[in-house]
Symmetry: D2
Subunit: 341 residues, 4 copies
């Protein structure tokens, strides 16, 4: 039985508590939040869970094995380091930290102390993204050509981070998981339409070694909601539309064939192949349940994971480089591999 | 009665001939194409139209007032200059020329000789784009925030130009017409998935003075066909989906309001406004008919036009800068205003 | 403060309790259900609410002003009559009763005893249906021509009632409210694909006086989910698609015009009018909250209502006639007006 | 080489002439139409084709092997009989005739004279309908449960036939071909919204032996265009949406399973199965080309065909019975098998 403490009980906190409470081998020992009024309703529903307005109460309790940190990103590093120092395993809300340096230090510290460090990239645990990963992993798409994602809607404007850190973080974590490849450079552009606010519209291109390119379009100021990802491969291409009630994933047996005879180098012929479309049935389950399950398993097995701190660090490095590129109108920024990865 | 010669009778040629033939004050005197077999079927349908495999026959005929040039872009400059030297008015297929220098010289030469020079940006003459222009021109969208367009499908790969020159040229001409603003710099990225071919996927960001940004995504290797443009403004936002049978334009009374009291500079509140959606009925008419009509009118009035050589030059400058930026992974490239504009 | 007892705590029960509990001038005094295990979770959430496995406990408590009956339809009559006899106001889940005779007796008894009798036609309280009613009521659609609704999906097969009583009851209550007209005859057809089960697919035509026709298609065995209603009028037509996230209601300025000169009776010309489409923004609110509010208001004002027992009786009469017609392959069945209406 | 005469050169005539002209083993010898102005443009395009304003010229030419009759339905019988008497093979536009008696006499006469009689049910030759037939024929859908089709739009109101004869004829011919079953009775309802005009909205239920039901909804006065057919089977269900650019056919691995233990007759459990969706790629080809090809093949092989006069008669019988039922508000009308079928 793993004893879990949750630090930060805002929008996502109740979902975290509920899902950990439902696991047979975990129990939610503590919930901490600076706002006492947020904690009040917990007592009736989870009488065995203690509450506090001080994270220290959670970290100082030696019976707590692991903490889940769901606070604003600026506090991730300090709380995460304190938790690791207290010997706790840590599940961190995305993004892992506000800078890649902070993220790298969290990863290093967790490794040195042999504690599990997981980032809650919840989308990675959805049936749709798992299916995409199965398809790319099995080579069903062939050589990967591009990853293109649009995540736009009206609101919610954030005050502390730009739209990349708020929305693109989802696409980056999905892309990292589905492609299993890391970009070597980025070029990003964006704009803030409200004076004094961070960028609310952004475009991010990611360059990979080989013939692979990634792109993300995020926007808080769109008239319509779109959540659509295209993944192009040499054998097949797929569309992931998260707003479809069913048929979220459609796999298209489409592409090109290149006929390049030796006599005819300059006159290659390109043929177009259009075959069937197939929408695999996806199981219905809550992604956060699988994420919570995964964290508990990480603690016991201590195995590397596609959602561990290294993944979190990779995402933060891209976000950081993208923000840097965005400040200079798309100037490309190389992503250092870094010691921790 | 304007006597028109058409040079180049490929995919688009028959449409050009038909539309000019239908105008009461124009007649198609000549059609020239290097391939004699292309010309053969013309005789039965247009017995009064002469054909030739040599453009010189058209240009040397003093009774010809105007020529329409629908040949590959690499030939635009030479044919256009020859036509202007021969005293003809010129309608050029898009893009106007293969380089901005060539385009600028065509513009200068036409002005010096007082000949009409029009570029066939056909989309500008569609009812949907005209409606968009009416809405922005009347201030219905408020201050313009962004222009975002996606134009993707499977095929046709071009051998001589990259996907920006083939597909983005449409978006750029629409954007130029609808916004009435010109970008000052661009950042573009793209990739060729076929060895030795031009880029088949590209992303292009355009920076404007003030709080306006533009972006175009074009792709010849997509599993699905998408033709969708978003235009965001401070009062309203619109979606133009060219694949909709009706309701191509949807105008959304949505946006944000910023409440920024003097006491409270750092804590501004953003409100979200979601009102009605409205899809104006659009007339049904062939855009190329209106384009042909426009060319004949330009000849007689000699007035500036949103589709004249200057517009063609503006588009070519963006394409040229974008191609340059794409070669260096998004490094921003400034667009010089240039003497001719 | 109205004291409410809820009888029947199945699928819908928790929603009823929550919504009545949220009203400032109502309290949920009792919840009764035959299954003790259903009642167990109530205590933690609603400590002031008493529970029982016997409806009699609710009806015998003189402090209870009103009861909400959410039990299987076969029990509606007996429970409803008992509640009225006990002097309670009654809100009944749809359909009001299993036969029109039972429904009529409930209506009569409620009127005689001056008790409120409301049927929970929840859809009538949705913003979309209220908007439709506003549009028809204001004459925006002109003369009403037809009402056509499709409500199909896979599951849930009911054992005790056919698909008309389960699904079409929604359409009939919406139609009754939106049109404000009652059909004079029906023709229905349907089929049971499972031996020994009630019909799982059904088609129902309703005939009105004048040039108005209604039709409902319901199906538990469809590959896709559809919830779409068309309302045709002489001035405008509308589409209500309940699966749209926003834009549930689209109003089309389309129709025909008939040009019938006296000289030319046999050669009338029909013109087609296609104007703008308009999707009014709808408020976001829970329909059941408004329904609960309405019941409490009915009790205090004692005014007639579009959701009172008479409406429930009208719906049951149509369902009864339709089931009769369905048994004889569409033979038309007249709907008697009846004394209670 | 089959020599073909086309009688009636209205909306559909040019398509017929073009497709027969493109067949290598057919030639269009004659085109007749009462309106001389309709015939004028033919000479330029088809110089070898003779034209006349009198059908007799076509029928009296002994070199003509076959005639295609594309005139209003009221003239089908007389022209068809005259053609058969003249020894011609006949391809008739749908519907075959204005009454089942006329249709039966055409069938009988063609058989007696050993002439081919085909009805141009063009939809039957589309790739989508052929795929549906392949799927049902191979048992991919299992036992057939229902056929449900919606064919609605704004216009064109016909003056001489009701909406069933104009639009439902398409659905009936598709259904006849795809199911390979014939209804034994029908119930129909409808309404004319224009005084003195035929019904412009109609609903038609078809009853078959066994657990199969069919339904068609047709409407000339709809705000939106819908062309959608559902076919339900015990193993799979499909949706045919003719307005989809690609993916016109979607096959769903969905349905129910019935668990009916002998102990538990009254309490059968129904399980819901939701599997993958699959959209087969369909070839792109013109249906009328295949129909013309089929007619020429019928002439040489003299084999029965799914589009022969018997099929035409079956469709007319359903239309006739439906019109009869519609006149009495859905009273069921039995469809006699009849000697000719």
């Amino acid at each position: 039985m793993i004893s879990v403490g949750v630090i930060g009980y805002g929008y996502w906190g109740p979902n975290l508590v509920r899902n950990f409470a439902e696991l047979p081998d975990a129990r939610v020992a503590w919930v901490a939040d600076l706002r006492a009024d947020r904690l009040a309703p917990l007592a009736a529903r989870y009488p065995a869970t203690r509450t506090s307005t001080s994270p220290a109460d959670v970290l100082n309790d030696p019976s707590v094995d692991a903490v889940v940190i769901a606070t604003p990103v600026q506090t991730h590093f300090e709380l995460g380091m304190a938790a690791l120092r207290a010997g706790k395993h840590v599940m961190m809300e995305k993004p892992l930290a506000a800078t890649s340096e902070e993220a790298a230090r969290l990863v290093e510290d967790a490794e040195r102390r042999r504690r599990a460090l997981m980032v809650d990239h919840t989308f990675v645990f959805t049936p749709a993204v798992q299916k995409m990963r199965d398809l790319t992993g099995a080579g069903e798409l062939g050589d990967l050509h591009y990853y293109d994602s649009v995540r736009i809607n009206l609101g919610l404007f954030q005050h502390d981070v730009n739209v990349l850190w708020d929305l693109a973080v989802h696409d980056l974590s999905i892309m990292d998981f589905v492609l299993g490849r890391r970009p070597v450079a980025v070029s990003a552009s964006g704009l803030a339409h409200v004076e004094g606010s961070p960028e609310n519209i952004a475009y991010l291109t990611m360059f990979f070694d080989g013939r692979l390119i990634g792109h993300v379009h995020v926007n808080w100021l769109a008239p319509v909601k779109i959540r659509r990802t295209l993944v192009g491969g040499s054998r097949r291409m797929l569309v992931f539309d998260d707003l479809e009630a069913s048929e979220k994933i459609k796999v298209y047996d489409r592409g090109i064939s290149v006929d390049q005879s030796p006599d005819n180098v300059t006159q290659m012929r390109i043929g177009y192949r259009t075959g069937d479309m197939w929408a695999p049935q996806l199981p219905i389950r809550e992604a956060l349940h699988a994420a919570a399950r995964h964290f508990i398993d990480m603690i016991s097995t201590n195995a590397p994971s596609a959602s561990d701190g290294h993944a979190g660090l990779r995402i933060v490095r891209v976000l950081e480089a993208a923000t840097q590129s965005m400040a200079s109108q798309g100037r490309p920024v190389t992503i250092a591999a870094g010691a921790a990865v």
